[in-house]
Amino acid sequence: MTNGWTDVANADVVLVMGGNPAENHPVGFRFVMEARRKRNAKLVVIDPRFNRTSAVADLYVPMRAGTDIAFLGGIIHYTLEKKLFHDEYVKLHTNAAFLIKDGFDFAEGYFSGWNAEKKNYDRASWQYDLDAQGHAKVDPTLENPRCVFQLMKKHYARYTPQAVANIVGCTAEEFESAAAIICSTGKPDRSGTILYALGWTQHSHSVQLIHTAAMMQLLLGNIGRPGGGVNAQRGHSNIQGSTDMGSWNNLPGYLKIPRANHATLDDWLKAYTPKALRPNSMNYWKNTPAFMTSLLKAYYGKSASKQNGFAYENLPKAGETENYGWGSFFDQMHKGAIDGFISFGMNPVANGPNTPKMLEALAKLKWMVMVENFETETATFWDAKKLGDKYYSTYKDPKQIDTEVFLLPAACFAEKDGTFVNSSRWLQWKRAALPPPGDAKPDQEIIARIFLRVRELYEKEGGRGARPLLDMTWDYTNPISPSLEEVARESNGRDVNTGKQVAGFGELRDDGSTACGCWIYSGSWTEAGNMMARRGQEDPTGLGLFPGYSWSWPANRRILYNRASADAEGKGFDPARTPIRWDGTRWSGDVADYKGDAKPTDFGAFIMLPEGVAKLFAADLLEGPFPEHYEPVESPVANPLHKSVSSNPMATVFKGPLDPLGDVKEFPYVAITYRLTEHFHYWTKHVASSAGLQSNFFVEVPAQLAKEKGIKGGDLVRVRSARGSVEGPALVTKRIRPLKVEGKTIYQVGIPIHWGFIGRTRGPLVNNLTPSAYDPNSGTPEYKGFLVSLEKL
């Protein structure tokens, strides 16, 4: 979230799209109700289903899964056409005025630079027109046809209400009534927020979709403002924190994973330390060397010296274009290229796409370690044929599966201390309430014991790659079960010479004098103690920032980009809602996303970006600098905007024998998968309350489709995709409206997740159905909007 849960109460308009917070984040949703009570805020819900959130919305508009970019693009068009955007904000805080190189263009579904043979883009033409200093040229009047503003206007001119309605499936009137409410926040004294979740991210074009939302919010002047922002609700308690700590392509703190061509630390720094693109750009990432060096120092301690490039060599390096994401490595596993697999609390058989392929992949492993609270479908995948009855009847017998499996019992949240980072980026310290049951152990002990034992083997026997392994620091007081307080102190960072905790990332150095495990967490455990355990109730701004409660990254800042809430002189756009104030010498209020004592005119508001302003036009993404509507990989219609380039040309789509795609003739309906409020993911089927309250898998079927098929509520139906099938009773409802797209009636079928073949209550795994199609930037699978058939049993 750019803002945070408590801040949602400051909104005048709440757009819920690609999420269903009343269902999945009920407690977070209380701030929407608060906004309504306090500010008479309007709640607009755009969703394929009239869901729990819609039940209390001021306006609900139905849509076809996977057409969000068309909808939001339409709003961009509407905003520009009716001049409802926040003019001063757009000029001051975005790259609207930046000039783009000649040669950039968009035609027939492709941006300039498409290489039909390699099936990717040469992004050279997507760049700014730079002057001799390497700064982007600008036209403050926004009139130059090569400026971002004019190019954007041209790009979205096609997204008229009629065109949007034709793609999305609602009526043009419905679209316009939503647009009118959303665009009412373009005024300086109004703000609007967006709450989204996996309904936006689980597409083959999801990152572009978030980009569209960001563009819309920038045009309306809603970024950095209380009650504004683009807010991902996030689905797991520490999904934010675990992402902060790295993923396949990131080191902790969003430092990029080294590539094979970055042979030395200098190479890496050169590649990833950006240069300012405007004279007034603070370009905070210029400090990347300090962050990276401090991380290497934390990782490799005494082995990291200036002479050896802080042992940078130890880090694993990916090939230049290689992808080690979810889809890729499970595909590799399926091809037999992976021998071992370790999982800490994840259940890929249930939560990964294309379960039939997942089961085959796991059977090719030599060994697998699962660390869990409960038995999972993944841990017991080798018995899927029996436990999963009809769904995996052709799967191997256990005796044909040679994977050795270890299922290790872990302590649950209540039996461990440490921090979770919520979607507001708040790090909240929790304490252990009781010991784990039986022989279960806390995860830190499990990982430490394995790690230390492996190292012992290398010390004793030697072996390949011993150095990176032995160089890694593990100097905890109790190495076999490190105290999480000690680990938290390590991620905050310390001065290596004095041993003192650093107060913030501003103190990190690139000379090896500081060590810091995760630079964005600097400030979380300072010399003053554990900031994350704070329980202060004060809210001096009255905006719900609660600066003394827990600790928020970065730097305890509660609203990201808050400098953009004020104009060039530092005066808040809305005097009633100013998160930060400039008093002539320094900024007060929220921790300014700016230099604390720099004059408002010194820098651009977006200090993390080389531009110094926010990017309406972003060349960073793979499929184009402006988001374009592309159909899901499996779609019931060809893209009405450009039929020959229907879905995202850059989408990651696996094409193995177990990755079939379905055709609309055989699979005429659009399916979406989602959560229900009674359950949490695939865990609570073990919990009596959830298993009781929602014990049965079901399929939501539009009433009209049910009538066509002679299906009554409770009738058993089978949903089938090109990958697999699920069966359950039909919940026949008018809450899923049939849609008119290109003159054709489109039905959508809703499939809740949560069931599996292990638990107090059981049911089919819905990922039997989902395709091996992913977003190319993030690697997120397309769970919303794939094709299925439906039959009455």
Binding site: V27, R30, T677, L693, Q694
Partner: protein, 260 residues
Amino acid sequence: MQTVAKLIDTTLCIGCKACEVACQEWNDQEFTMGVFNNTYQTMPDLAPNFWNLIKFNELEIDGAQSWLMAKYQCMHCADAGCIAACPAPGAIMRLPNGIVDFAQDHCIGCGYCITGCPFDVPRLCAKTKKVYKCSLCSDRVAVGLEPSCIKACPTSCLTFGSRDDLKFAADKRAADLRKSGFQQAGVYDGPGVGGTNVIYVLKHADRPTDYGLPKNPSIPWTVQLWKGPVKLLGNLVFVGGLLAAFVHFIRVGPKESHDE
């Protein structure tokens, strides 16, 4: 002592079922398996071990898709039908704070309260032969805590306080709703049973049955007739009969004996 009450602003209810589970948890009730009935409401009805149910109702109101959700539990009536009907002394008490609480060890399981209740709330447990219902967490309230459902409610659809305060808040909320275009918005608090200590704000107060609430609830007339005129008449018959016999015996005496 002030009367306590619960306000249910149904316009804020998202059917999250937190109140249902909070109630189960606090009262250490066993969770039972729900059923599928073509609705998100998987618990069909209240049960001896399930005292708090959100009813879901999908319908179209004035052509617009609606999904009404409302919590359903004991209403803690001022003029409580269960108390009126209950024969067992001490089994149902109306605490001075207005809570109508069942004391199961005094309950004889006759089930009259079920029939007496205009809201059809109490449930007889086949195993223990006792009747159960929401106690408004009298144990929590007694030590200054709010009822468990109210504490859990994420959207502040449920609030707890003195009845007067909540009635005021409810009236205001309904007036606000009418002002913002919901002509039929209103307060539902059972005047027919002397006022309930559970107060609802309904967007469509003209159609309470769509929320699963009875229209114009009152103690059933048969119960009223029984507890009123019939009981009076009966007492007259019983006492009068004995009295008449006594007077007859004194004044007239026995018949002449033909018994040697």
